[in-house]
Symmetry: C2
Subunit: 694 residues, 2 copies
């Protein structure tokens, strides 16, 4: 039985154990964000053990030059990575001339709570420093939904002796680098920095880009809840931008540092206005005061929950988990800004660069459709529409023409970022996920205008891609799709991945159907679409030939679709035969051994059953589920949720629940021993699907 690291609670994540060397895991869990800016759950004060300071702004990225061992023609020039920005949260504290650092203190009691209902995080620590001075610190913070540039910290220090000298340096730490940097290069550079009394501003330029940002903070001090004036002296540390203040506290005195701060960025604001905005917003926030700001934010979160809460009665473990998933999805992306998208780890880590994968369409669009105004899903789809030209370029780049579009595996602006040939060039099923998302959106909203003006163009270009990408096998008398990687990335460069082939067939079919649906509805519109896209009957009849005659590997003996050609030649030992100490296999086996094995990283044929459930009988689902589940190791965060939904379809409620718990508590219980790298935000959409659809 898995031990839960955090206290089970329906609305909060509570950490009541302090483990100095493991705070890096909790930093991911306690991340905060408002869809625009976000940050890992770092301590404000110094901390000399493992940590990853992380503060990010959605849409602000660095073009990190591609690093590969052996260049393959067609690789992209760069990987877009969200920038780890100067840290506005930093508060350096010293008590009687000793730096406050939990790692060097004796922690007498420790409690941290992430209150998901109200959207704040609070930490209370009672400690003795190395001089045996007892101190209590209490820090409550949140990122404001309403004020999207702004975060708020209320940091309290209480002492238990007289004449305690407390020196405080609220500041911006500019000594921050992205950990995931190909060439160990800085992603940004400081243009100017200013620190004056209670104000700090650092203006930075994202290197080799037009992006500029300003990091800022402003503070106010209170002693025993009364505002006080203080004198200021400049920070002595070059990389900490701010001013120090000194206080002399007596027994039971409590010093409060009320710090507001955050980022303005050139995507949203004119660079010349940065300082005005900062001045206005921080001043206003200080005036409003911590309690009012917090209340305002609680109101915003209550609106969010009103539309998206899922109540699971009598099962606190699942209740906590599903809310944790919904909470982080909302922290990462709220749909307010049509330029933004959802990174696989949100603001909780740098892995995968924080840019867009097929996860958005396959796993997140349903969540946002189900919990937000439909404009949110539409914005996400419109982004793909706006990047259609780049997707067409992308297909050309790998040698496919005639209007074929291949959406990138990873992108921020429509340009491909990923650089493994077996993924970048071959994991082409991502195209179908976009068509799927269009279908879901249209079915949900009946938004004809989007279909007629944008959606259909995407569908035509995707259909053209499949037409160009298939070839006719004389031996099989079938259309085939060679050299692909399916959703199961533990197979590379395989032929006739059933999921990919079936998805291609479906895309072509759906496009033809939508065209005729438009024709039935609006003859003129249909005509103009035909004309504008240079469609003709021959092209459509070619699509129909492929639909009719594409190879869909099938085993009569086993009554299953075959994952890809040759899959059944493998040594088909079920995954439960793998010794426990060799799991997860991707951390224990050579890549070669994984590829040769029958083990499936995430739902592949079953992903098809998830998307196309109504195309198949329960009996078909049952036999495919039974066959593939035994080989599936769920080493992708996108696997358990699909299995949960399908298990529920075949009425295996126990299994459905088991997979739901695994999907939804993946991070809270750290199944794959990797949360220090950040949370699996996009798969949280999958968890939501498994409760709502399963």
């Amino acid at each position: 039985m898995l031990k839960h690291k955090y206290v089970l609670d329906p609305w909060s994540i509570i950490e009541n154990q302090y483990d100095s060397s493991n705070m890096i895991d909790s930093e991911s869990i306690f991340s905060l964000g408002n869809g625009k800016i976000g940050q890992r759950g770092n301590f404000e004060e110094d901390f000399s053990n493992n940590q990853t300071i992380g503060n990010y702004i959605s849409g602000i990225y660095y073009r990190d030059k591609t690093k590969v061992g052996w260049w393959k023609k067609g690789y992209p020039e760069y990987f877009a990575k969200m920038v780890n920005c100067p840290n506005w949260n930093k508060i350096r504290i010293s008590i009687n001339n000793t730096l406050l650092d939990l790692n060097k203190c004796e922690v007498l009691s420790y409690n941290r709570e992430l209150n998901m209902k109200e959207g704040w995080c609070e930490r209370k620590v009672l400690l003795k420093n190395d001089k045996s001075e007892k101190i209590e610190i209490q820090s409550k913070k949140f990122i404001s939904i309403k004020r999207e540039n702004l975060g708020v910290i209320n940091y309290k220090i209480k002492v238990f002796e007289n004449n305690v000298k407390v020196e405080v340096l609220p500041c911006i730490d500019v000594n921050i680098r992205n950990n995931d940097s190909n060439w160990n290069e800085p992603f940004l550079e400081t243009i100017e920095s200013l620190s004056k009394n209670n104000l700090g501003i650092v203006k930075s330029n994202i290197i080799n880009s037009n992006f500029e940002i300003s990091t800022f903070f402003k503070t106010e001090y209170l002693i025993n809840n009364k505002k006080i004036n203080s004198s200021y002296s400049q920070s002595e540390s070059k990389h900490l931008i701010g001013c120090k203040s000194k206080f002399l506290l007596n027994t039971d005195d409590e010093l409060t540092i009320f710090k507001v701060g955050g980022y303005v960025n050139s995507n949203d604001s004119n660079k010349n206005e940065f300082n005005n905005i900062i001045e206005k917003e921080s001043e206003n926030a200080l005036k409003t005061g911590f309690n009012e700001l917090c209340k305002e934010n609680i109101d915003e979160w209550s609106k969010v929950w009103e539309h998206s809460d899922v109540i699971i009665e009598g099962d606190i473990k699942s209740q906590q988990a599903i809310r944790f998933n919904i909470f982080h999805l909302n922290q990462t992306f709220n749909g307010n800004d049509p330029k933004l998208n959802i990174g696989p780890k949100g603001f909780t880590g740098e892995k995968y660069g924080g840019v867009t994968y097929w996860d958005t369409e396959a796993f997140c669009v349903p969540f946002y459709l189900g919990t937000k105004h439909s404009s949110v899903a539409k914005n996400l789809l419109n982004q793909r529409y706006n990047q259609l030209d780049n997707a067409i370029k992308n297909a050309k780049n790998i040698g496919l023409n005639h209007g074929a579009a291949l959406y990138p595996m990873v992108t921020v602006n429509g340009e491909e970022c990923h650089n493994e040939w077996e993924i970048t060039f071959e994991e082409i099923h991502r195209n179908a996920a976009i068509a799927q998302a269009i279908k879901k959106y249209i079915n949900f909203t009946n938004d004809h205008n989007f279909l007629d003006d944008e959606g259909i163009k995407i569908l035509i270009a995707i259909s053209r891609f499949w037409k160009e990408r298939v070839n006719y096998s004389k031996v099989l008398n079938k259309y085939v799709i060679l050299g692909v990687t399916g959703p199961n990335e533990y197979e590379n460069n395989v032929d006739n991945n059933w999921y990919t082939n079936y998805s291609a067939k479906w895309c072509l079919d759906y496009t033809i159907n939508q065209l005729s649906e438009i024709g039935n509805r609006n003859v003129k519109k249909h005509e103009s679409i035909i004309k504008e896209n240079n469609l003709n009957n021959k092209e459509i009849s070619n699509w129909k030939k492929i639909i009719k005659n594409i190879h869909l590997p099938y085993s009569k003996d086993l009554n299953i679709f075959i994952q890809n050609d040759g899959f059944l030649n493998k040594d088909l030992q079920p995954a439960n035969k793998i010794p426990h100490n060799q799991r997860p296999i991707n951390q224990n086996w050579s890549w070669d051994r994984i590829l040769r094995s029958p083990y499936i990283k995430q739902a592949d044929v079953l992903q098809g059953f998830y998307f196309f459930e109504d195309h198949f009988t329960k009996k078909e689902l049952q036999s495919n589920f039974d066959f593939y589940e035994q080989f599936t190791v769920h080493e992708s965060s996108l696997s358990a949720c699909v299995h949960s939904v399908l298990a529920s379809s075949i009425n295996d409620i126990e299994k459905a629940y088991e997979y739901f718990v695994r999907a939804s508590r993946l991070d809270l219980d750290d199944y794959n021993k990797e949360i220090k790298q950040g949370l699996h935000i996009t798969s949280m959409g999958g968890s939501w699907m498994s409760i709502v659809e399963g």
Copy 2:
């Protein structure tokens, strides 16, 4: 019709055109070496256009930390790369205070000859510098076969006016870097340098290794062939280690700089003895004089040619080419040092690191067997024997146990260096090439002792590898080998590559036969081998099962072996349909497009017909040749030679000749527009095979 860049001549390569921007190509062609040290054909004086200064010592390498975009478990830590050493050849010259630099001169006449019979290279240039001063330079040089640390230059400057001030700085240029460096780090560092009068010594340490080398030179001046004394002053340039001398020349005066130099290294000599060796060798060389040294070297080359010359009458193009191949093979490796091996580009370029590939066994062993004492081939095989433990580790690393050995794709000491999963882990047919080389050696020499004491252990470990690597397919009722890359690297991660499967079968069969051959000859030895290797009947009977029942893809309709499962599903357009401007496809097509195409980089099924020709009928060869040749693009240097031999077997003499010319003149005529990177040394063994075996 291809224009020949160099003059056709039976014994020499002659360059009589000067093209300032293209000398980098000729630097490869005019490379010199003696199997121990070697260098590209750089000009001695300054040259401000494209060039790659290259001086290398066989066996002296740097561990260049692996660079990959996405790490896969099992990748090696480093790639061994031979070190580009300080350049002992450098002679900086100024005439009337103007630096001599061909790129800034008007070249009135230019001639460079590589005399392969005698092993020297001579360059004669008549030029006007920017002050319209006419100067003739003549440089003759060679690397001594007999004195393996030593190169010799006789450099003459002739002037045609009075009172010409000539300043000469014979030196070592330490400002040299490997071009092919993963992290742009230096591979060596200077420990100490000395320049005193006519002597220069630079001692260097290969970073993070135990290798040390000393680069040295010593000079003598002659005017009009009379030795003269000169005064010396220290070089002003920090990176040019040596002393300047000044001369005043008059009309028709000829200044000769007789410079001997080279390298001593810690593989061959005690570090403390470096200076003594340098002193002795350079002093002795100077005393011997240029003409005597040259004559001595000519004698050595005549011994080489005595055993290895191939005479082709009435076809100067082929005659020149085959000698060029033989010459470079001998420059690269002579078999004198059992620690050394053959890099794909010898001393002519840095690509592929200069370390060992399967090329050695598959393409070079036959050449050295045919032209050298059999100890040379034995040394090469003994190297693999000495690295058997590492090969066993290497197999373990990818998850194969029970004594299985997988020889590395690329290695210097038995440790794998290569880091593309589709090659490193999957191009496992290399194991069979080693067994092939053992067979060739045994058949040629009948050296029972080697077989009994070393060869059989390699064969057993390789057989164990195949046993571990196959699996049984219930669907096919056959043993299969999944997830491999065959010799055709334009297919990756395929199942049942016919060549690999057939080679595996042959290895098992050959091992069993050799075991019983040993048993027939020497029962006791046989017993001790069985015991020492823990062989038992069950293991051998398992091998026999595989031999009997391994899947060998075959098409009855086409009467061919199928390159790998699924190959016939491709769009089988012959290569001559590819537009000319898209060739070579590896420079024009995305990797994805190449993989999906039916195009074959180098002989694959046909490589099998080359190795196992006697296993098949001429009719079988003919139909496989006809089928596969049409898809083969020969974008590997190892392709044309195999096609030449096979074309000859099916009596297509015209084609055999065409392929032989292509193989043997690959570099001289620069078929693939890449010789600036260096010559294809190992494939030169293939050219030799195609003339001798074809």
